[in-house]
Subunit: 373 residues, 4 copies
Amino acid sequence: MCYNRYMRLFCSGAESRYHYRGKEMYVEEGKSIMRVETITLNETRNVTLTAYIQETGGEFRYVTKRPAVLVLPGGGYEYCSEREADPVALPYLKAGYQAFILRYSVKADAVWPNPLSDYEQAMEMIRGKAEEWKLYPDKIAVIGFSAGGHLAAAAATMAKNRPNAAILGYAVAGNDVKCCNQSAPDTIPEVDKDTCPCFLFATRTDNVVPIMNSIGFMEALAKADISFESHIYSYGPHGFSTGDPSIQPKDTQMSERVPHWVEDSIGWLKEVFGEFGADGLTEPAYKAHVTDDCEAFLSVDCTMARIMGNPEGARIVGEVFAEIQRKTGADRMGDAMQDFLRKMKLRDVLGFGEAPEEYVCALNEQLSKVPNI
Amino acid sequence: MCYNRYMRLFCSGAESRYHYRGKEMYVEEGKSIMRVETITLNETRNVTLTAYIQETGGEFRYVTKRPAVLVLPGGGYEYCSEREADPVALPYLKAGYQAFILRYSVKADAVWPNPLSDYEQAMEMIRGKAEEWKLYPDKIAVIGFSAGGHLAAAAATMAKNRPNAAILGYAVAGNDVKCCNQSAPDTIPEVDKDTCPCFLFATRTDNVVPIMNSIGFMEALAKADISFESHIYSYGPHGFSTGDPSIQPKDTQMSERVPHWVEDSIGWLKEVFGEFGADGLTEPAYKAHVTDDCEAFLSVDCTMARIMGNPEGARIVGEVFAEIQRKTGADRMGDAMQDFLRKMKLRDVLGFGEAPEEYVCALNEQLSKVPNI
Amino acid sequence: MCYNRYMRLFCSGAESRYHYRGKEMYVEEGKSIMRVETITLNETRNVTLTAYIQETGGEFRYVTKRPAVLVLPGGGYEYCSEREADPVALPYLKAGYQAFILRYSVKADAVWPNPLSDYEQAMEMIRGKAEEWKLYPDKIAVIGFSAGGHLAAAAATMAKNRPNAAILGYAVAGNDVKCCNQSAPDTIPEVDKDTCPCFLFATRTDNVVPIMNSIGFMEALAKADISFESHIYSYGPHGFSTGDPSIQPKDTQMSERVPHWVEDSIGWLKEVFGEFGADGLTEPAYKAHVTDDCEAFLSVDCTMARIMGNPEGARIVGEVFAEIQRKTGADRMGDAMQDFLRKMKLRDVLGFGEAPEEYVCALNEQLSKVPNI
Amino acid sequence: MCYNRYMRLFCSGAESRYHYRGKEMYVEEGKSIMRVETITLNETRNVTLTAYIQETGGEFRYVTKRPAVLVLPGGGYEYCSEREADPVALPYLKAGYQAFILRYSVKADAVWPNPLSDYEQAMEMIRGKAEEWKLYPDKIAVIGFSAGGHLAAAAATMAKNRPNAAILGYAVAGNDVKCCNQSAPDTIPEVDKDTCPCFLFATRTDNVVPIMNSIGFMEALAKADISFESHIYSYGPHGFSTGDPSIQPKDTQMSERVPHWVEDSIGWLKEVFGEFGADGLTEPAYKAHVTDDCEAFLSVDCTMARIMGNPEGARIVGEVFAEIQRKTGADRMGDAMQDFLRKMKLRDVLGFGEAPEEYVCALNEQLSKVPNI
């Protein structure tokens, strides 16, 4: 009956059988309730992975795969806090992600590298089941809190199976790692060129994990040219999780901005992983590294210092730079200024010199053949 | 060991056994994964209720019970859209609510009153299991979309088991109900004094459910003195659900403000039901009715018209009003002004006349003995 | 010195003299403090126009002209409230707009059409001085509150010099106009096809201007196919202006969402007027009318009812529609369904029928030659 | 006439003459247009202070005085950017603040301490005219950008007339100060116990002022126990000011969250200065220092390390601590744990030990008599 056909189309734009871009598609009705599955990864150590899997295709016709988050709750390596488990998975599920919660080794079992091994096992399983679980194996963020934040940072800096982004909430780092787990390594010295983009948040007045833990890790990221975002709120307790009043009751002394980290982290992931569009995820907005100083070959996105420190790079750029110096009278440039320029990317220096785009491209082409040694 | 004890306390503020306000409480660890349960309410008509149940107590120490939402997806009474099922439940779960999804009678089974009976059965079950499902039986909101919005409005206006609040998304109302389900009644004439507070949202350019559907229902609420909130966004398609890009892909022609309804409805529910505090939910911010014109006895929150239309009310207020008239020279007051005052609550008229609070209270006391006939 | 040149470029991207897209531009430094000018429009009636003018060009290199707002404060036609003057202009100034405040005829001088004449005079002056005041003469929004909201709606519906958009805050409309100004006309019957897009906001519990004032106006806009957005907040007093605590002190009984109207109205204006881009304002996101039923010629954006009511339109679309009917079995379509379809735009009907884009364009081409009579 | 009286009261809650809390108040109508005044502070160096002064009292009946911001635009000490002048003042004006813009010494005149002297002169004038300009002399925030951010930080750390809060946007600090102004001192080593609370923001990819400038300053604040908030956005250019598209045009490569700093800084100031209430500003939410380690006398808000390092403090707390050790078996506490506890405030240690409030108060009383030497 026409009536049916129209109403199916009209109301929410779906019907059991329809053509989408020339392909016949079929919706099995009422079958797309979110699946919740708990898998025991290690019986002895009581390690489990809980999966929240949402449907793709059907009425979610534009969604063929989903990015994912793997949640690592806090709890001082003594337990896995429920406050930082389900309530954290929910907003990412709403944003269209698949979500996983790892309850890793705690107490006596927390001896290193057990927790990291649990993570490796979980990440391997998630990537291995990417088809079944309908997710992008290269768009998986890890999100950890407190001790779980330490584990997330360890995953981002030391794991064999690195995550593609890391969200670190009041994460333990630096000397305080020992207070929390005597066998666990500090993550700050481990930040390397393969560390994924990171999103940090914490409260300034955290009375359990001092704010220097976050600042120290941030500094390591800055020095390694890793892309990051960081929000330190002026006021609030440790362990606030999402900051929802069902977790931190109304009248908790906490800055009103604290709960913003949740939506902000989703907006940030959108930039790192891309956004749901009519043809799958769109292109990411930026790279994991702020400069190309860690890449295998040179480019205009390397810093002046990096390029000038490479004999072949120095030769190529020499003429360009000489030209800029002539143009800008740089022979009179002081040492402070030179230092300043050395930290900038060649692309930016050229931009300020109003070099035409074609010129920048040609130069980039040349540099891209020079090994970055 | 001190270390354990401290870390348990420090990290996320929990431990297996602790004293809270003099009562010994116990956390059974790792047992608070959200439960998902699907109950068949009517096998013949394929009606199911899916429950998402979150833990209380334990680490959620301030939460003893939770408010709840019952989601009614749209689909023109032809099917129950998955786009308006799980993705809608998720943000309320994050906000600390229990969430339920009713897949009600559709197609041939949608003949009235089947869908409403399904609702009644679901609401009875939810209230009946309030203890088991750890929810406040008098803090349950219904949330419906499109045809499901019609059903939600029917629940709010005609059901035996009324909800405590209703969220209506691009809900079908008025003459268009017949286009959607020929046997279903219009809800606009059914708005009555027992209708719960309502939150409406829609897009102005909805090409399936014309915006007059929402305006008509809103007008009925205004005339019945029911409290409501309404957001009509200038631009967007029908059936956008939460408006997340995983449902409406990026580049959908839709006002950026559309997805705000989700957080706004949660803020609104907080006012209607109260907010999570250290001692359970706080007091609601306001009543379901804007005036007391529908209450059993008079009060200073009745309109002047209502009070002056009641002989005993008119007598009591007569002297007061005469005084105000003397004070303000109201003998020279025009008809327009009188009309204006008649629509106001006595409390507001007294307020403008700067009547002292004690005076208002005393007068209220007197009026509270007068039956509102 | 290079140092200077670099620092000028580096810090805030500006220098006194620079080339932008091949044109030499010059910044006269320290000369771009916002100008505030008050012009007496009518000495007898004490009518003034205050202009807040921001610079263009120079460091604001991408901005050559600005859109504008004209603020009409409330005050019951008895005075012009300062609460709804400067505090309202400020956020639009921040958003890059020029802002004007009209203090129109009040008290005895408010006899109609004096206030509207004041508005006409102000709008003529603003458009006349568009060059001097660096604004787009066709991107001027009027924003009025309470009685000023009545005046803004009169401007939008009855003026010779119509605004290009109107923002109406708890605006007086309907019978209550007489309570406020006995000589003033109701605006609801005046809504016509030339009415500009409107943005309405109010609180449900307004105890001075009943919410039906806003609902009545909204209904008239809906019936005239004018684009609008509307936000009715559940709780709050009359006259809250921007809702900032410096105007409505903390602990005012007011929904937390009330102050959102300010940013929401700026987002809405962005859709109506376009957004600041690198080449001036971008294209608006949508038209002032939701359908083309009011346009001079037919199009696929007319409703089915309009097209089928036009003999030539009916002929053209006849074959198409017959085809759709054949495809969908519409011969069995009930009356309710027909009613439903008649309200839809032809474009949407074709879309549901999955007509290819070229086909829709060709049809539109044909219809665009048929006068809409 | 009653009509007038009512309308005056009803619409926007104001009238020319009214009683408020027993005091007769009077509104001089139409006299409260924001005043803009530019004062030359130093003719030779072309230093000016522009004041934007809003009315108090009258219709702003709850506002008797206002907090204030003093804006220091950037421009590499070569000029004062207009992009970071008026557009920055506007949102604080909207929030109810008085706003000032200092155009300080630049170019050759920027030799130190000229810019700081300009600041001192401005702040002295603002505090001196607190009555005339209707502001709280102890609630004045300085807000600076880039080089102006360096000056703001210098004001916060080195000035005779310190501000009460500082907002630092992509502020130059550390070695890069020399690139910007060779005579200017670095501010990082100057952070001291009298430094006011600070709010920092920047973009990670700033290609002019490297992000380490902000991280370095933040670290100094953390070490000095000064309260701060910090937002580092992942992506964006230097010099974005408010991030409004009229300043950074649409399609600038910039994280969507960047413009949030404006509202966030207003929310933060509300916590530092208090919020507009019915009786003037409410109490601030927190202190400028995170611990009392810098105060003249000990308290329970000193760290354990500080108290235990003071002989009298150690004696008083000794017994308490011994008790806690007994209770928690702390004799088995490892060195890591001890380090951990030493960084905590006594109040927090007691809190974890579930010490009753009276007990904490009594102990605080005792400690408050011990000089912090």
